[in-house]
Symmetry: C2
Subunit: 647 residues, 2 copies
């Protein structure tokens, strides 16, 4: 472990020119970022108002008025600012840089002399700062601002917002820690831990890394801090929800290093695991790395939806227990899948193991993309695998499930989270070590890196995810020996590699095909990943999916929508008698590979209106059509089904 160092490639060095992804990135730039800016300024009709920038204006003394929104409302602006930073890093844009600079002015003005920065407490409860860490998200809010600041500094070189967050981080460092006189607490919603690592990376200031480590190691220890602060403030509560007071909800049930199961609020969990992976890497902390691996394995072998989402219940937006994966009452928050990607990406920088990239890809292509509509203007917070719209309206246990994406949310964590991830997706494609380039995601474009002092360009070209044929071209100034490591996805059972159009034998290590040779300029590599339609089954311990299959092709999970099929999707059975076929349809859902075939449905003509009857087979063949899960809900609203009965 820690035998090698794997580096991320900075966003500036990655260019995306990809049929599938360029559309999304452009959507974030041209629609989502402007749209979200309007939302932050309460300019979206028929949507819940955000009040976010207004709160900053009031806190900064520019406006008068009262605070509106959640206690963590500031983070919507931070996540938006982070997204715009990534945009500016890729495509400089004066107009938006000016708007971002104005937003930064607002933020700077809202900072207090001490360094403290949080509009809720500044406006509404100035005397109650740091008194309710369990519920009030102050450190979480600080963390998102720090993330935004480091991104903005890296993109533009301007340090105004960086100075603001350093002052804030210094204030936090003076306030929290094991030393006497400091608060021995930690955050109720993890986030600052990973943000402080980023701040350390940008500033080189080791105090920030140590503070992050303090927060991780103080968590869940005895005496139990959240009870101490509760008692001290007279047991007041900010939220009514009782789950807030369950220890596993915010992963304080055990000291972090003793945790072996993913529990509680899913976003909190994966944000923390991401920071733990960061710290393990920076500190070469073997024990913490083992904890990360144990938690990772618990998620992916027992608590992960096939769409890469996590959080089986809306109660606390949380994990439940092993193999409990209901399809229609789940939470599967978009943000939680984004956090899972953060976790995976950090693990990849410790160990180049395709399991991390596989799950990163699964979450990205399915749940994260499902989180946003094809027009970039509406969002899912919750990502069910099965939807019966009438039940969402009338069944209390499905009330959190929406059959249509929403324009904005009172608690709007997901839309700007999608924006910041997709705007920075270039940073997730490659990592490099001393003389290896790892390709984790198949996204067309170009990357420029330096290996042992040699400049190397790698051009990637494919129709992924619709096709498994991926072409690479190497650009070197002079012949150079190094390895290209190409991920062979877990879903792929057969692949071929050609170099300069000649088949080559490659060795597979931890899920990567290694091609080590003296590369010459314009050498080409063709990787072909066989991408047949696969019918997937769940582990039999997942009771919900007994007797059912999910359709997968490449990284894409497919689903049935009412728009393409019969109204009652539960009547459909797929059968081994019939083959499914895949074909590209440029006119459907911005251009997709659709999957068609024959299945069975109930012959309604033979059914009667009784609720219960003696069994009789009354099925008839029916043509079925499946579309990528991530695209569902972009047409008329209706039912959706991912796990389909099979015989």
């Amino acid at each position: 472990m820690f035998d090698k160092t794997y580096y991320e490639v900075s966003l500036k060095k990655v260019r995306i020119e990809d049929e599938f992804w360029s559309r999304y990135v452009k959507l974030i730039e041209t629609v989502a970022i402007p749209y979200q800016w309007d939302a932050l300024n309460n300019r979206i009709e028929d949507a819940e108002p955000s009040y976010c920038t207004q709160n900053f204006k009031i806190a900064g003394g520019e406006h008068s008025g009262s605070f509106h929104g959640f206690v963590f409302q500031d983070t919507d602006l931070s996540k938006w600012l982070e997204a715009i930073a990534y945009m500016l890093e890729i495509h400089p844009n004066e107009q938006w840089e000016k708007i971002a600079d104005e937003a930064i002015e607002l933020i700077e003005k809202a900072q207090q002399e001490s360094g403290y920065l949080n509009t809720y407490f500044t406006i509404k409860e100035p005397g109650a700062k740091w008194t309710n860490l369990r519920e009030c998200h102050e450190l979480y809010t600080a963390g998102h601002l720090i993330e935004a600041a480091t991104a903005y500094y890296k993109a533009t070189g301007k340090d105004k917002i960086l100075k603001v967050v350093c002052k804030l981080a210094d204030h936090i460092d003076e306030t929290f820690g094991i030393e006497e006189g400091k608060i021995h607490g930690y955050d109720g919603h993890q986030e600052i831990e990973l943000a402080l690592v980023k701040l350390y990376e940008v500033t080189g200031e080791i105090r920030y890394l140590n503070l992050s480590q303090y927060f991780i190691d103080a968590r869940g220890t005895e005496p139990y801090y959240f009870d101490i602060e509760s008692e001290k403030r007279g047991y007041t509560k900010h939220f009514e929800d009782d789950f807030m007071y369950k220890k596993d909800y915010n992963q304080t049930h055990l000291p972090v290093r003793q945790q072996t199961e993913a529990v509680g609020h899913a976003v909190r969990a994966v944000y923390m695991y991401s920071a733990m992976a960061d710290l393990a890497s920076k500190m070469k902390d073997q024990e913490l790395l083992e904890t990360c691996k144990t938690l990772w394995n618990n998620i992916i072998t027992k608590k992960l939806y096939i769409t890469g989402s996590i959080g089986s219940t809306s109660y606390g937006e949380a994990f439940t227990f092993d193999y409990d994966l209901p399809n229609d009452t789940n939470y599967s928050e978009t943000c939680a899948s984004i956090g899972l990607i953060f976790f995976a990406h950090r693990m990849l920088k410790i160990e180049a193991n395709a399991t991390y990239a596989d799950e990163m890809e699964r979450a990205l292509y399915n749940t994260v993309l499902s989180g946003m509509s094809l027009d970039g203007k509406s969002f899912f917070y919750v990502n069910p695998l099965e939807v019966w719209p009438e039940a969402c309206e009338h069944s209390p246990i499905k009330a959190h499930v929406k059959a249509a994406r929403q324009k904005w949310f009172g608690c709007a964590c997901c839309p700007p989270n999608v924006a910041r991830l997709l705007m920075s997706i270039g940073a997730y494609i490659y990592t490099v070590s001393e003389n290896e380039i790892y390709t984790h995601l198949y996204i067309s474009g170009r990357v420029d890196v330096e290996l042992q002092g040699h400049k190397i360009g790698l051009i990637q070209k494919s129709n992924y995810p619709w096709s498994g044929v991926i072409n690479f071209e190497v650009e070197v100034e002079a012949t150079k020996q190094f390895s290209l490591a190409l991920r062979i996805p877990g879903w792929c059972k057969s692949h071929t590699v050609m170099v300069n159009n000649k088949p080559v034998q490659v060795s597979i290590k931890r899920g990567y095909a290694f091609i080590n040779r003296e590369w010459e300029n314009h050498d080409t590599i063709t990787l072909e990943l066989m991408m047949p339609i696969e019918l997937m089954q769940a582990n039999p311990r997942v009771r919900e999916n007994a007797g059912k299959v999910a359709i997968q092709r490449g990284p894409m999970i497919y689903c049935l929508e009412e728009a393409d099929n019969v109204p009652n999707l539960s009547t459909i059975t797929l059968s081994s008698e019939f083959d499914l076929t895949a074909s590209y349809n440029e006119n459907l859902l911005s251009g997709i590979v659709e999957i068609k075939g024959t299945g069975y449905t109930v012959d309604e003509a033979e059914s009667n209106s009784l609720l219960y009857n003696s069994y009789q087979l009354k099925e008839k063949p029916i043509e079925i059509k499946a579309v990528p899960y991530c695209m569902w809900g972009n047409r008329e609203h209706g039912e959706m089904l991912t796990w389909i009965r099979y015989k």
Copy 2:
């Protein structure tokens, strides 16, 4: 409609001597009634204390102290007293009559001068009487006491408790009504409506019937009473639950006669429908009868579990919407099925139509019996059709589902409700009209009736529900022409009738086989109901049961239990390749017909620990065993499954 009058046969005239039922009746007499008396007096170890009799002692000035328990705690004593009344009606018992008389003394002492009687308000909020009808169950509590009193009077002829409730009813009559100066309100939990009809039947006092009708017809009208009273008391609340303030929760969303769908709290609904049926019958109210039929049909064609339970959600213990019948998150309260039986029984007295008796039988043999353990000492409030014990502990949407019966409940409506129904089951077997005897339930024993002045005895003998062969013997003093109408259950597809051992042709009307003849003493009838194992399917609109069957034999729904099968029941598939066989096993669960056969399960040896895999058939044959649903959970605790996959 109302062309005939159908009379109930009084409990005294029915003797039960039945292998199956005598055990239950005896259990109520010898275990449940004494046990519940101990519970009412806080004498059950490890069970939630009731405080019920103590509250009466305090209200009556006999003890000092404060009120404990729910606002409707008094009803536990009332339902117990009703059960004991039925017991005394069948089997006089000095010891228990003395205890009951002492309980009646307690109740009498707790009554106030005005007639008011409710220990909660008397002890705890004497100034707040009748100010929160929506939440505080005062009329509901009065109703249960009235029911108990009429039963006790009929059983013993003693009128002390009858006088108490007449005084209470008179007080309510003076307090409520459309007349100026009276409260224009009605109860938040229906019950008094059906109780007042019983009081009318016993006393002949028409004011009680009119008061019942007032409550029904005032309900749901504008101006909306519950809002008026809310405003008047300054919007205080008794319960925190928000559903309490939804109009459909207590069926006040529309005037009663305009209601067409069963909505809201299931027990409230069916208690109200029962009163409506009573009133329709007594008042010859055609419109109200049509409303009853519409609501009945909505339940049985769209909202009924195959086990005869109702209430698809724990949120408000309520109906949800058509065809929403989840098996593992449902409520299916024991009391709601008891209420459905009340409703059915009343409809049978208006129209002898086997649909009512069919559903009465379904609810009785499955959910009601499931409500109590075989030893009579523990109870289910919630009756799921599928249980995964780990999920009951860890999944928030299943927290209300218990994998084992409980000893007692803080809100203990179900145990004494089961007791009073089973103690009076004799009254549900027969109805008579001018010269017809209808047999609705097949329970061995004897009934004595008078038709047109002739005394007739009918002896019934069978091994029902395990066998469909039912023998009758007629006893007449002289030859007499009349009809025996024997229900041909909806589940029965083939039957034969013999009179004096010779096959006869019978006409079937509304589900009853009519045998009209000059009966002579000792004439015999043999009804054979073919009772094969049936695999049942649900209407395809019930999404939860797609591709699944339930096993039924006669009136009994069967289930799989972990105790008899593999641990993960969801891995089991039944198949048309294999037959199931039924055989009596005297050593299992107090003696049952068990069902055995072959199915398939997953070959675990071939499964791996991955969460998702490409589909491959890896099944192996397995011997399965099913037991009657009502008996589940009487051995070691484990999984249970009613709807089983089928291919």
